[in-house]
Amino acid sequence: MAINQRHHELAERYWKANIRIVTICLIIWATVSFGFGILLRPLLSGIEIGGTDLGFWFAQQGSILTFLALIFFYAFYMNRLDKKMGVDERGA
């Protein structure tokens, strides 16, 4: 597995970009579930929705919808980055 200098440089830059976007996504992931759904629920108790509060909605609906959006956002973002940096699987 001879990875030359170019590969190293490419790998490093690509990985940095990936880590940044993964970190952002995971902060949102934790905020909607552990945050709004559990720990921060008392703070959201003033916002009423359908006979209960926003925290309950996040715990039973909102977090799941956000998870879906996050995965598709990440996939689109990374697949675009792959093309831009020329590491997509061509003819693989």
């Binding site: 170019r6 790998a11 998870f67 995965i71 061509r90």
Partner: protein, 592 residues
């Protein structure tokens, strides 16, 4: 048409479909057997993963757990979906790039250690077999209820069907069979949910109906539900009543367990490219979310329907007379999952929370001497269409769906077990010269043995299905997920660190569960009672997987820092899996 005949027709027709597909797609080469020749489209793969993932626990049990507890059990909803974010962002693209067949193979290669690979096989087998036991129990209950045979007969029929298509078909058969199972189970779950949502709120979308006005009272559905459950001494439905720490750790444990369970990860290997792998977890979650967004509505609405049935004039008035009880109560009484005892001898059904001290004076005032009806939480989804008086074909559809959910998960887990044994244990470690034909044979024998063990343990279950499922999640969360994640994200974690980490995570989690649930799940051998006051810091055995995972990470990192560096070729391997594809491209490195 008679209801039993209708059930048999629906379940039978769905079986003919599954077995037909398994036969049509039977596997030839080993590559087809394990990974369907890598020719599976991400959407197809997503549906199959969804069927694989949603077991008897999701289909039959979860809505019931939410119905009888309320908000506090939202952990199941967030945990069993949030894990897919971890899977998509932290594991899927890299494991697909690595491009081998199994999870232990990755762990063995990345940590350049046959020991690591064998430890991973051990974790995988323990997690998967315990999970299959739960499914086999579920298969037995569903079959015996709907085909009106004994539990043993139901279990044996189910085991035969699982054996037939999983052993003959391999992954390809399983993939397309699971697509069919997904379609059956999602219809079976959503059709009654839509009917009931229309009945109670006039809105055909259950997730919206849940937050809408109740047509009976005019008030919001959840406010009405909060009111009636509190009238009977129960905790409010939407309130937070249990330990916040435990709820957080339980959610986390289910999330990382999801991302670490081998039968879900193995799916990623069947997608044609890294780009496809990123989407495949997303597609899986789309198909899972359809059920998970409806489940809390099913739970809340069923709880309200049950109370309305038992208190036809409202919770302040006298309850229903036992002689006037509806047919579904009679049917389920025969299975022993609903019981009635007329404690105060008035011939009425008093159903309330007799454990609440603050409600005791009210109960005494009304002449109640204890709650007279017990309803098993696991029957809720199966009984739901009967409770809501839906047509007979909906009831039969739910029967077919429950069986599809249990069978598909069992088959996926069996595939993961058989790959681990034939591929990781025999081909790569013990018998490197084994022929492709014999490897395939070994895989099938491993499946047959696993089915036999799971069936036997399913006949004499080591505990409730929920306990077995908790162990499977705890093990996956505490052992496999951290090893996989560190393998990709921390290039300095070495062989010694990874092996020690897995063993510490696995050992700690098993120990904690066994202390409260009984050693090897044998009833009565637990060292402490399984109640919150005995738990360490109030953390339940169900939630302990997240603590095990933290210990795994900490052990691996500390040991790796104090032992030798990772060899250069492993660092190159890590670099390689992080990037989808290097081209021999003469251009300079482009900016992001």
């Amino acid at each position: 048409m008679d209801q039993t005949l209708l059930n048999i027709t629906f379940v039978g027709a769905s079986f003919v479909l599954y077995i037909g597909i398994a036969w049509w797609a039977r596997a030839g080469s080993t590559s087809e057997f394990y990974a369907a020749g890598r020719g599976v489209h991400p959407i197809t793969n997503g549906m199959a993963t969804a069927a694989d993932w949603m077991s008897a626990a999701s289909f039959i049990s979860m809505a019931g757990l939410i119905a009888f507890v309320g908000y506090d059990n939202s952990s199941f909803l967030m945990g069993w979906t949030g894990g897919y974010v971890l899977l998509a962002l932290l594991l899927a693209p890299y494991l697909r790039k690595f491009g081998k067949f199994t999870v232990p193979e990755f762990i063995g290669d990345r940590f350049y250690s046959p020991t690591a690979r064998i430890v991973a096989v051990l974790c995988l087998i323990v997690a998967s077999v315990t999970y299959v036991i739960g499914q086999m129990t579920g298969v037995g209950v569903a079959f015996s209820r709907f085909l009106e045979v004994s539990n043993t007969t139901g279990l044996l029929i189910g085991a035969g069907v699982v054996f037939f298509y999983a052993v003959l078909g391999g992954m390809k058969g399983v993939t397309y069979t699971q697509v069919a199972q997904y379609v059956v189970l999602i219809f079976a779950f959503t059709v009654p949910a839509i009917f009931i949502s229309i009945q109670l709120t006039g809105i055909p979308l259950p997730p919206i109906g849940l937050f809408s006005a109740h047509t009976g009272s005019g008030a919001p559905l959840l406010a009405t539900l909060d009111q009636v459950v509190q009238d009977l001494g129960f905790n409010s439905y939407t309130g937070h009543h249990q330990s916040t720490l435990n709820m957080t750790l339980f959610t986390l444990s289910l999330m990382i367990g999801t991302a670490g369970l081998p039968h879900v990860i193995i799916r990623i290997f069947t997608v044609p490219s890294v780009q496809g792998a990123r989407f495949s977890a997303g597609w899986a979650l789309v198909f899972i979310a359809i059920l998970y967004l409806c489940a809390p509505a099913v739970g809340a609405m069923a709880r309200l329907n049950i109370i309305d049935t038992l208190y036809p004039q409202g919770t302040q008035e006298a309850p229903l007379a036992y002689d006037e009880r509806p047919g579904w109560i009679e049917t389920w009484e025969e299975t022993g999952l609903i019981t009635y005892e007329d404690k105060n001898g008035d011939g009425l059904i008093q159903f309330y929370n007799d454990k609440s001290e603050s409600f005791a004076p009210t109960a005494a005032e009304r002449g109640w001497e204890g709650s007279e009806m017990t309803i098993n939480r696991d029957i809720l989804v199966l009984a739901n269409p009967e409770i809501a008086q839906l047509p007979g074909w909906v009831i039969a559809l739910v029967a077919a769906g429950g069986i599809a959910a249990a069978l598909s998960t069992a088959a996926g887990l069996l595939l993961a077990i058989s790959s681990a044994v034939s591929h990781d244990l025999l081909k790569s470690t013990l018998m490197p010269n084994i022929s492709e034909k014999n490897e395939l044979l070994a895989a099938r024998i491993a499946m047959a043995v696993a089915i036999a063990v799971a069936t036997w343990l399913g006949l004499n279950p080591p505990g409730f299905a929920a306990q077995t499922v908790a162990l499977a999640f705890g093990i996956a969360a505490a052992s496999l997920f951290p090893a996989l994640m560190m393998g990709i994200f921390m290039s300095r974690v070495n062989n010694k660190g990874a092996v020690a980490g897995m063993l510490v995570g696995l050992g700690f989690t098993l120990l904690y569960i066994f202390l409260y649930k009984g050693w090897l799940f044998i009833p009565g051998t637990n060292s402490f009672p399984d109640t919150p006051e005995y738990w360490l810091l109030g953390i339940s055995p169900l939630a302990i997987g997240s603590v095990g995972a933290m210990l795994n990470f900490a052990t691996a990192i500390i040991i790796s820092r104090n032992t030798e560096e990772v060899p250069d070729e492993i660092k190159d391997l890590v670099d390689d899996i992080r990037v989808p594809d290097f081209h021999d491209d003469p251009r300079p490195v482009p900016a992001e």
